[in-house]
Symmetry: none
Amino acid sequence: MTFQVYDTTLRDGAQREGLSYSVVDKLAVARLLDELGVGFIEGGWPGAVPKDTEFFRRARTELDLRHAVLVAFGATRRAGVTVTDDQQVRGLLDAETPAVALVAKADLRHVERALRTTAEENLAMIRDTVTHLVAEGRRVFVDGEHFFDGYRHDPAYTASVVETALAAGAERFVLCDTNGGMLPSQVTAAVADLVARTGINPERFGMHAQNDTSCAVANTIAAVEAGVRHVQGTANGYGERPGNADIFAVVANLQLKLGMPVLPQGCLEQMVRVSHAIAEIANIAPDTHQAYVGAAAFAHKAGLHASAIKVDPVLYNHVDPSVVGNDMRILVTEMAGRASIELKSRELGLDLAGHPETLSRVTSRVKELEAGGWSFEAADASFELLVRSELPDAAPVRPFALESYRVQVEHREDGAVVSEATVKIRVRGERVIATAEGNGPVNALDEALRVGLGRHYPQLRDFELADYKVRILEGSHGTGAVTRVLVETADGRGGDWTTVGVHPNVVEASWHALVDALTYGLDRARV
Amino acid sequence: MTFQVYDTTLRDGAQREGLSYSVVDKLAVARLLDELGVGFIEGGWPGAVPKDTEFFRRARTELDLRHAVLVAFGATRRAGVTVTDDQQVRGLLDAETPAVALVAKADLRHVERALRTTAEENLAMIRDTVTHLVAEGRRVFVDGEHFFDGYRHDPAYTASVVETALAAGAERFVLCDTNGGMLPSQVTAAVADLVARTGINPERFGMHAQNDTSCAVANTIAAVEAGVRHVQGTANGYGERPGNADIFAVVANLQLKLGMPVLPQGCLEQMVRVSHAIAEIANIAPDTHQAYVGAAAFAHKAGLHASAIKVDPVLYNHVDPSVVGNDMRILVTEMAGRASIELKSRELGLDLAGHPETLSRVTSRVKELEAGGWSFEAADASFELLVRSELPDAAPVRPFALESYRVQVEHREDGAVVSEATVKIRVRGERVIATAEGNGPVNALDEALRVGLGRHYPQLRDFELADYKVRILEGSHGTGAVTRVLVETADGRGGDWTTVGVHPNVVEASWHALVDALTYGLDRARV
């Protein structure tokens, strides 16, 4: 039986708190998932959710899927209603998808207490709905809601739900850990027990895990190891409560750890791109520390073993980062030595191997700055400017020279809080004085600088302060305090970079980081 | 053999990109971990990292641990050096901790290529160092670095590393998945194979998992199911790359899913509080979707089954949220519940149980403030002021009323950076105008306020700004950004307290936190 990778980012994943896709968003996400090579895309609940009805309508003409089959999600017919009279079931057919997923209660307690019907009627609802949809030419998946809790409570009844669905013509029966409380060993045992009890080939089962024990990915893998050949997940693990199984980690583990080629060839290396693009659409900051696809997934604090990592990267990475479209990164830290700086520079496309003197200068400059509280670990752009300043051929162009600035914050008698900044700078030989207001002192300074530079550098308008972090550093009691500021800037086209500034005065520290941010961005735009 | 919960938040967890604790931070984290009831706290690498040396020095007088044993981390002696001559080993002894953890190479390839020594010398290094530390009265743990990769590559050699360490007197040998590439079934198989090969009781092994396959928690549980009786983890899973096993999920799974009471009684319900407080100290936004402890871990979108959830919460939650100190949430916006506010107030010595109306007022005020970005997780002093403001008998005395303030920062032509603030306030009926300079705008404001209040409140002189943290909240694109400031104040006699301020303007947010800090301190000094 073929292995099925089934994505439910657009249906179950959309249950995540605070997440809301437009129809256009959903179409864009579906295209990305298809590029990832998933076999099935569950698009939503047509008929029940107007936005989803619209999504399926537009999908017919606007989605040209290469790999994936579109699936409409819904429920079995209501209790006491003939299936052909059930509006909700009609909505599923009206979506005109090749496949339909039906949620069915697999826990007798939920049948009785939430559905308020009988054990027998629940089985009839499943049988009737599956039969009807199959007769209408649909491939049918049945999601056994609360399967694992139900199986623990009353294995005979839950097994009869599974048997009923498959006997009626469902292609696969999906074992859902709806409350997310399972551990891998319990999944293994439950699948084995179900197979022993029913004699059904486990390849006909699917696995749908939630992450409430932080084991969603592991539970999914455990099910596959127990013979299951259909896995459900969502991009970046989005979903209700702690979320669903992260489809990227599931697929990467299957391919790279268990040697199961579940995606079409060439698709695995799309993971990082697809993950980040979906995060953008969902308007959720990508998780830097996400397995396989996070920006820090293969980041190493260099220190002692930099030279060893350089020689044998394979000894320090569990897989080659490039196979999932990621990169190895070396972090410049407190323990920076020549080797890690050389490695880091190479990563940025600057080869210092042939310039031992430059490497020495950069290394001692970094050490000197780090002793003063600077940290380049999270500030690649500032680090690159620093290295390039030491390379005659690659020195960055400084867009202006500072004469002075002044920032003022007032809390007035009427309670209003106002910030204003004035900068005096020289830009391409011209003296410029610019003043601006902002919602804080740093924002005002940023605005004033942009006003001052704007005529010479119109591309500045696209740059946006995306994040701003402040930290008071050690030894910071009273007057000795040193402030470190990290500024993340976005260019509005998906690019972003981080710069750092350190000074006892938070405004001056911010100024350094802001100037580096604009210098780096303008320099990059120029190239 | 007793079960050991071993925390490495302060050592391996501190490898997380961008994370940097001060010594005061480390002491505060250690206190929180002790309140959680972990058995061991690995504090850092004394001798090698100056900050860690200082941490262990201060821990001797400033940490009064109820549950945990403090552990110093380090390496085995260098190749070719007598253990008594090894500076690094001496640094471990100088830390004067009851226990020491030694990292030892358990993968022959790393011995040869990174350590550049022989298989035999590596074993001798382990034997000598363990023997020496045991002779000096230390409990010794040995972390087998790259254990799983090493065992796959050369099981005989890796097994000899395990045997050598335990034979020399190590209390436990920790199986480290340093590169994080394991799956639970592979952990199960490796532990079983190691036990079969060496005949060693698996209770003498520990498990240290990294999250590179998104299976760190599951791998740790798998090891325990295979007989291991020592688990390592970090608060919130902080650590290098995708991080370490999240100690909260590990412990909750062991207690609630496997029925193993690994924490002292009454400790499990501290999890949410400890998790969020450590996140605040680390200056990392708490992960809303974290298993067990996330704000959304038990949040249900109130849809079809809202009433069913209310009647039968047990059918919709994998565990009772209160056992880990969490709440079930139905409404998306609802952050703080009555129960947790009552609990927290009681913790501060304010009993609201007999004042249901006050409790309601405080709860709705907290909800309102939290919706605006305030967070009281790490700001007990601000929370206490808020609660007491609602209690007629306990309302705090406000030391002054603000008329206006003004802060200015100038970067002058000569490069000097100067901050100056002026406050206009009413103190005990008197109008006071005071101006002061500072090394930054917030410091200048703080100084001006102290000058203005000094004549009436001389005890202010002892208060010191000990830490200052800033975070930009919610997306922060352009003008929508809200700034949250945490201020830690020390009274110079060992007491310290944390206050919070939130505003789009960082100076105004700081002002709120500063005023709370002085109000709380003066009020406490008065009592």
